[in-house]
Symmetry: C2
Subunit: 482 residues, 2 copies
């Protein structure tokens, strides 16, 4: 006989079928929905609220260090896009092209921005004249389009996604490179403190770096299935784009030189990482700092005490207004079903109030991440709720950190590496820097790839490359990405 | 001999050549720039900051009344767009079409959203089942594309612009209609209080209403050249879109019915209105509430007192940090040229500090909107600056209100109407409601059009239509739009 399952809740377990679990989580917790545009999703209010909150706080930190926002056109003329060869090669197969307006064919087709280097740097070449104009640290929050042909996965892989793109310009290489610490520091801070996601900052290999960059650093996160998520990135572009887009300036010595540039971004893919890392078989778990409604209230109603209990609920709602409480007052729906509904949608704390609690002047509080329900005196409620939310925020971070650390292994044997990666880990291996060897990783195991170069400073002397067995140059982290 | 003009400042007067004055203002005050995409502009940091500030405050008010934000795809499949005939007819000639991704032709071409009814209402038809799901009050802040072929004018007419689009759904017509007051009230409040722009809320005629709506209300603003700007709008759509997109629900009686909907929007065109109404022959004027840097500091430097004056400037900068002061410390640039630069860019208050001021413990303050410089004791500075900024905010509003009221005339004679409109006015005329007569307005005068229906409640009895001379049904405001 088939087990009876609620249509409202998740019908698979995270550990059993990660992909199906995630798809159900997205739809049933009303974060996202598919649309009539293949590969594009709708950000429903629950996820858009989170993104906008995250953007406001991140943007405030950008502004504190002197970054200013701009908004460039959505379109990039083909001829502009073609100016930097590596860059085009990286994006051309995924570009969506506008060819007509109304029933007229355009003289030149226009790309929908897959990223805005081309259109922004064309303006920079007009605006920048001397070192007095530098640094120029501009950023925009917008959406971009990359027409992937793989199956879409909400937040992780969609043809349109939201992001920030920072495009900064400096008079010297040193200043440009120094910005990396500052920006990656901000990204790391907001992901750690708001999303409760600890990550590892690591440099990509030559093969994996951004098309057009001198070097690429990314922050890496690990999912419970061991797949690695490439999060926010920082590219030091040197003078590559400056030469392609002719961005010259007079330096302090009065000499003409090309500028030094960086590009950096964080995308809505991080929402996907956050949802998957924290959520469980009962549904969504979101760090309280990114919850709009931090408290749910469920009254336990009996005919003879209903009015009194509901009056108290109103009072609690007012007391807790800073936590934007949601009350589930539906009639004809059992408390159990209401509890499950709140769990599914990731309500951090649930407050239950019945007639007996009322008499005692207490409520019961259940935390979304589990543990026994606790009884709290109504007079202590506001303080206790604040404390429990803080506690939950830290608990989620600590759990994610434990997950991350438990998935970091090391090995010098390719057979062992395969076993470790199959077991849901990333692995630190000695490597020779050869692009050929990097290309051969997928022969060792399908999907195995270079993640980032280790920066612990551990001696590599005497070590042999995992692939070719020749002299190793550095430690490389390898694994599978999501 | 040609008059010597500074290359940095504006070389034409607002009253002499409005259009050239505006173009120069945009470029020289670094608000906007043209781009390689014809008809699209770049929002430089100075204008994007204003828009984002305006969005944050407006969005906070939307949220207070229960509106939630979403983000729908940028694309709309052709078949979806075609579902509501009037709607398509209104937009089709200006739609930008994506036909290819990489080098592959798409199966169905995709419109870049000119507005999102089609894609949003398709989801609503899935999400809405019963009156429990209503009201659903969703909004998104994004950019839209309308491929106009007229000359672009920064902020006023560009092929891509930024806006909000509210798409709300109700169980009854009454609730939907009632939302109008609330939303137009918010729009009127933010435009009045932040942009210092008073407007007139008025209903459009049948001929001028939004394609697909039952009725359209807009807020109207007047420029110094007498042209009328159509600002934020509110459309009551009745069940028109619900029928086209099949959005049904079970009402409280358990009967199936179509929902009632509204759409409402405010665009970056309002920035254009704000810049033109307040600015003058010396450059930009922006209401202080929408200025990032509210105070400029210019030290008057002489060799023997330079260090002391500069030290004091640092002190003032710290004292005034809540006003985000900008100091112009450039050497080899005369104070006069610095003053002109700050005026060009719309710095609300300019503080001058020379050695003699320093001795007296005072500074001189000049207000962007004119009047004598005043001497202020340094100990009173913070208080005084706050007061002067408030004063300026109100002064700009009062001036705009005076402008608006001075441009509102009335007449019942078409010859007189033409003279009044040529003189930079809008005119209240008796009208018969006939679309044919509305169509004939441009025969009376090229560009003359119906603006909105008067709502003063004044009796129209005995009055004759301005165009056909038949019995008039209401007073109509006519004029030229920008």
């Amino acid at each position: 006989m088939a087990k009876k399952v609620s249509k409202e809740g998740l019908t698979v377990k995270k550990a059993d079928d990660f992909s199906e679990w995630y798809q159900q989580l997205m739809i049933k917790s009303e974060l996202a929905d598919y649309s009539k545009v293949s590969g594009c999703i709708v950000f429903r209010p629950r996820s858009q609220w989170i993104w906008e909150k995250f953007v406001r706080e991140t943007d405030d930190l950008f502004k504190e260090v002197g970054v200013e926002n701009v908004m460039f056109p959505l379109f990039i003329p083909e001829s502009l896009l073609l100016k930097e060869a590596d860059h085009v090669e990286g994006f051309a197969p995924e570009v969506a092209w506008v060819t007509h307006a109304g029933d007229k064919e355009l003289n030149e087709k226009l790309a929908i921005r897959p990223t805005s280097e081309a259109i922004i740097y064309d303006s920079y070449s007009k605006w920048i004249r001397s070192y007095n104009d530098l640094p120029m640290r501009y950023n925009q929050w917008c959406s971009v389009v990359r027409w992937e042909f793989k199956n879409p996965v909400p937040f992780f892989r969609t043809r349109e996604f939201q992001w920030n793109e920072g495009h900064t310009v400096f008079a010297t290489a040193d200043e440009a490179i120094a910005e990396g610490k500052e920006i990656l520091g901000i990204y790391d801070k907001v992901c750690s403190e708001m999303m409760a996601l600890p990550g590892i900052i690591g440099r990509k290999t030559e093969k994996e770096k951004f098309a057009g960059a001198v070097s690429t650093d990314k922050i890496h996160y690990v999912l419970s299935n061991g797949r690695v998520i490439e999060g926010p990135c920082f590219h030091y572009d040197g003078q590559n784009f400056a030469k392609a887009y002719d961005i010259k300036f007079l330096n302090e010595k009065g000499e003409e030189d090309y500028v030094y540039q960086n590009t950096w971004a964080i995308t809505t893919r991080m929402l996907g990482a956050m949802f998957t890392v924290h959520s469980d078989d009962n549904g969504l778990v979101i760090p309280p700092r990114l919850c709009k409604n931090k408290v749910g209230i469920v009254p336990i109603l009996f005919e003879d005490s209903k009015d009194k209990v509901l009056a108290k609920v109103e009072e609690l709602k007012y007391k807790l207004k800073d936590f934007a409480p949601l009350c589930d007052l539906r009639e004809g729906v059992s408390p159990g079903r209401k509890f499950a509904g709140m769990e599914l949608k990731g309500m951090p704390l649930r407050i239950e109030l019945g007639p007996r609690d009322l008499e005692k002047g207490v409520v019961m509080i259940a935390k979304r991440t589990g543990g026994d329900k606790i009884e709290v005196k109504i007079e202590d409620l506001v303080l206790k709720v604040g404390m429990m939310l803080d506690e939950m925020q830290h608990e989620l971070y600590d759990n994610a950190k434990e997950l991350l650390e438990s998935r970091m292994k090391r090995s010098e044997d390719s057979g062992e590496v395969v076993e470790m990666v199959k077991g849901g880990n990333m692995v630190k291996v000695p490597f020779c820097k050869g692009e050929a060897c990097e290309g051969k990783l997928k022969e060792i195991m399908p999907g195995l790839k270079s993640l980032f170069i280790d920066s612990d400073g551990e001696s590599i002397e005497e070590k042999k490359c995992l692939v070719c067995g020749e002299h190793a140059e550095y430690y490389l982290w390898v694994g599978r990405t999501y």
